[in-house]
Amino acid sequence: MLKPILLVEDDKRDLELTLIALERSQLANEVVIMRDGAQALDYLRREGDFAGRDAGNPAVVLLDLKLPKVNGLEVLQAVRADPALRSLPVVMLTSSQEENDVVKSYELGVNAYVVKPVAFDRFVSAIGDLGVFWAVLNEPPPGSSKASRRGEPL
């Protein structure tokens, strides 16, 4: 009963590399992909295109900072303001090392802030560690969606 990982990433190369990294980390969790902040919020709130999806929150949200429409910080803010989403684990996965971004993210209640390493092997291990920690080791708050193992029907 694994919950999905929500990956919010607009850059297709980053997306591909992240998915490869997740794949290499042998996680069984499903990865739900959203390409911008607005879409991500719709998914989480089960609104718009996602009004019909099953109830339940993902195990963790891997959130890029710089996103089209609604940026990562705004997504985070909206999540923390929503009673149904408030306790959802959110990890910033970003290129930005700016102190400002780090400080703001923590102020808004991010659970972790990870700067993507340039070297691919380190990137893979970083993503793997993240996935294992949040999707496997971490006990998510009640109300998280019931996730299925890879290959199993929803």
């Binding site: 190369r13 980053d14 590399l17 290129s95 090392q97 390493p117 691919f120």
Partner: protein, 774 residues
């Protein structure tokens, strides 16, 4: 002229050199008039209402409105009064307002062949008619015609005020026949100086002599402006009293200010007799309502001056006044023009600069501007100067004192009298001209002139008492020349210099204000640029690192997936691609670090360098365990005041550089010295590595400057730039020196700052350019 500040007494003054000044009295308001029972109250002497006239003419006083006879001089023969009154009644009496000059009523041919020149004027209550013996009519030979025909053209040709005065003295003597005629001028303090004279043999010369201001009391000066002609025809005269014809009137009620026949004080007559001067006359030189000077004439014998001659003399005085006024105006305009040109030069010089008024001390025109020998610019606690100026502290004190006066422009040519400490530097600055630029800050510009010791020849010792054996003070008996050396004064500042200094002040204020605005604009611009820079580094941070990561990532993927299919060479190429991408990523990170160092707020506190160094050495030693490195640390290091994190970054850069560039030395020796210097504390790191040539020392601390090939020593070339930025943000200094193949030495020093005084951010003067004055 300041030798005369010590006035003797009222009485002494009263008895002073009246041979020259037709009035005989002077005042001394500083002393009580009753100090001595024998003394006159000089300044209260009723010179306008003496109640008597001189005997060479006769006077009638009528009621101004009813024309009823109120008084007459006591020298009308019996029966003649009625005829004179009758003549007056038949004449067209003046309707001019009180205070206007007397008008001539023509010649009255009285009986027995007597002919009288009659003139009349009004006071606010009375009509005064004066009768003087008429001279025979001169026709075209009348003095007034020669004056116009001959004298006026000469006057116009004169090139200087002294020449004008000489012409006037000679002409006056020719017109009146007095034995001595002189023209003199009053200075600002009221002292008189003889400009020109014409004397007959047997008369003393007073050319160039000075007469102290005390000689003429204020009330007499006022009378000289009002009534510009005065005659004492015979010093031996017996005054003729005024006889009152009505009941409710005293002789002293009759104002004789405008009367030509007005009687003068017996003391003055005594003095005239003492001096052998039996007649005297004076004509005022009045310019713009101010008593500029006098034409003064004396005779050894009694001398009457007829009405026609008197009119010519009055006219001469007016012509002279006009000519002097025009000469003075012309020269002042010329002087002001020249000064304005200098002002322009100064202002334009300053406009081209950043507007700091301290630069004024470098503008050559500043000295010429006020014909000064020294200029000082004072701003708050700083002094800039050029030429001869008093010691810095004295200039500061003086500027302080001048600021305290609250005047925009201050000038004194005898500074020590106003500001006692100036006595100490009068040889370089006996006088000062100063403008105060700002009321908020102390911001004063001062011009100095040195002392000029001047010898003044007074007509008689101005301080010598004239007390006789009977204890009474008598008028002076001698005008023997008496010389005085005047000290403590410089060449006086001219009106034009003072006026243009005020204009310069305005112009400077304009510049200072404009600069303040410009600084504000720059500050705004800086803020804007900083924001832009922040946005830029954000973009760099986020967007530039992503492609580097992608390149590295995909290369790894290719190698992972296709390792077996790829040639050795292709794999090497891909390795290069990956290294290049990684290096580019490092460069981006280094650049971001550098930019962060400049922007992050300083969190300053005491930093224990001892601990910091030990930890760094331990950490760095672990990185290259195989090397033989001899660290030489001192037993103790000074505590520095700074941001602990940034100081660690700076120190780590020094130490890791030393470690890096001494690679290959066995042993590598790295010495860390403690520096305790007057300007602050710091450290210096020395290694025995490859060093560098001092030729490139100026490039050491630049961004991305490298003195070694990249293959030889890894790195981005930004470390020392970061150190420099950190040290400079702490207000410290950083340096580096080296010798190729011998080693290098790098150090920094931070100022010692009291924790209370240390602000969080860089000092305001650096980040928020503020107007430097106002």
């Amino acid at each position: 002229m300041h030798g005369l500040k010590s006035r003797a007494s009222c009485t002494l003054s009263c008895a002073r050199p009246q041979a020259v000044l037709p009035l005989f009295m002077t005042s001394n308001p500083g002393l009580p008039p009753t100090a001595d029972p024998d003394l006159f109250s000089c300044h209260t002497e009723p010179i306008r209402v003496p109640g008597a006239i001189q005997p060479h003419g006769r006077l009638l006083v009528l009621d101004a409105s009813t024309r009823q006879l109120l008084a007459s001089s006591d020298n009308w023969p019996d029966g003649s009064l009625q005829a004179a009154l009758a003549h007056l009644t038949s004449s067209a009496l003046p309707a001019n307002p009180p205070g206007a000059v007397p008008v001539s009523l023509g010649v009255w041919a009285a009986q027995a062949g007597e002919r009288w020149d009659v003139s009349a004027h009004c006071t606010d209550r009375h009509l005064l008619a004066e009768f003087e013996p008429a001279a025979p009519a001169d026709g075209n030979g009348a003095p007034i015609y020669s004056l116009t025909r001959i004298f006026l053209p000469r006057l116009q040709a004169a090139s200087s005020i002294e020449q004008l005065a000489q012409l006037a003295a000679t002409e006056m003597k020719r017109l009146t026949g007095f034995g001595r005629c002189m023209v003199y001028r009053f200075d600002d303090a009221g002292h008189g100086q003889v400009l020109a004279e014409d004397v007959d043999p047997g008369y003393d010369s007073y050319a160039g002599h000075h007469f102290p201001a005390d000689d003429i009391p204020l009330q007499a000066r006022a009378l000289y402006v009002l009534n510009q002609f005065r005659l004492i025809a015979d010093a031996n005269y017996t005054p003729v009293a005024l006889r009152i014809h009505g009941a409710a009137l005293q002789p002293s009620d009759i104002d004789l200010s405008q009367a030509q026949l007005r009687s003068v004080s017996p003391v003055h007559l005594e003095y005239m007799r003492n001096m052998g001067t039996l007649s005297s006359m004076s004509v005022s030189i009045v310019i713009e309502g101010r008593l500029w000077g006098l034409v003064s004439c004396h005779g050894h014998a009694p001398r009457h001056v007829g009405v026609a001659t008197r009119l010519a003399c009055e006219h001469l005085g007016q012509l002279l006044a006009l000519q002097i006024q025009s000469k003075e105006a012309t020269s002042q305009v010329a002087e002001q023009l020249a000064l304005r040109q200098l002002t322009l030069e100064i202002v334009s010089h300053l406009s081209e600069s950043d507007g700091t008024l301290s630069l004024l001390a470098q503008v050559p025109a500043m000295l010429r501007f006020a014909r000064a020998s020294g200029v000082a610019v004072v701003r708050d606690d700083e002094v800039w100067s050029v030429g001869e100026v008093p010691p810095q502290q004295a200039v500061m004190d003086l500027a302080n004192w001048i600021e305290g006066l609250g005047a925009e422009v201050f000038h004194s040519h005898q500074l020590a009298q106003d500001h006692a400490p100036a006595q100490g530097f009068k040889d370089v600055a006996a006088g000062v001209l100063a403008v105060s630029i700002s009321q908020v800050h102390r911001h004063v510009i001062l011009w100095f002139r040195p002392e000029i010791v001047k010898t003044v020849t007074w007509a008689g010792n101005p301080r010598k008492n004239q007390v006789a054996a009977d204890g009474r003070i008598h008028p002076r008996r001698s005008f023997d020349s008496w010389q005085e050396r005047i000290r403590g004064a410089c060449l006086p500042w001219s009106a034009a210099e003072v006026a243009v200094a005020g204009e310069l002040r305005q112009a400077l204020i304009g510049i200072v204000l404009r600069r303040a605005e410009e600084f504000e604009e720059v500050a705004h611009e800086l803020t804007r640029v900083n924001k832009e820079l922040e946005a830029f580094s954000y973009t760099v941070s986020h967007d530039l690192r992503a492609p580097m990561r992608h390149i590295a990532g995909y290369v790894d993927l290719v190698v992972d997936l296709e390792k077996k299919a790829l040639s050795e060479r292709a794999l090497r190429y891909l390795g290069n691609v990956k290294d290049a991408a990684a290096y580019a990523g490092q460069l981006v990170d280094a650049l971001l670090d550098f930019s962060r160092m400049g922007r992050a707020a300083l969190k300053q506190r005491p930093v224990d360098m001892q601990v910091l160094l030990q930890e760094l050495v331990r950490e760095l030693s672990r990185q290259e365990p195989g090397r033989n490195v001899q660290w030489a640390l001192e037993p103790s290091y000074p505590e520095l005041f700074g941001d602990p994190l940034l100081l660690q970054v700076a120190t780590r850069n020094f130490l890791s550089n030393a470690l890096k560039y001494s690679r290959g030395r066995d042993p590598a020796r790295i010495t860390v010295r403690a520096l305790r210097r007057p300007e602050g504390d710091g450290i210096e790191v020395e290694d025995n590595g490859v060093g560098f040539s001092m030729e490139y020392a100026n490039k050491l601390f630049g961004v991305f400057q490298r003195l070694h090939q990249a293959d030889e020593f890894e790195g981005t070339g930004i470390g020392l730039a970061i150190v420099k930025r950190i040290v400079e943000r702490h207000g410290g200094t950083v340096w580096g020196s080296g010798t190729p193949d011998q080693g290098a030495r790098f150090g920094f020093i931070l100022p010692r700052v009291a924790p209370a005084a240390a602000a969080d951010a860089p000092s305001p003067s650096k980040n928020n350019p503020s107007p430097r004055s106002l």
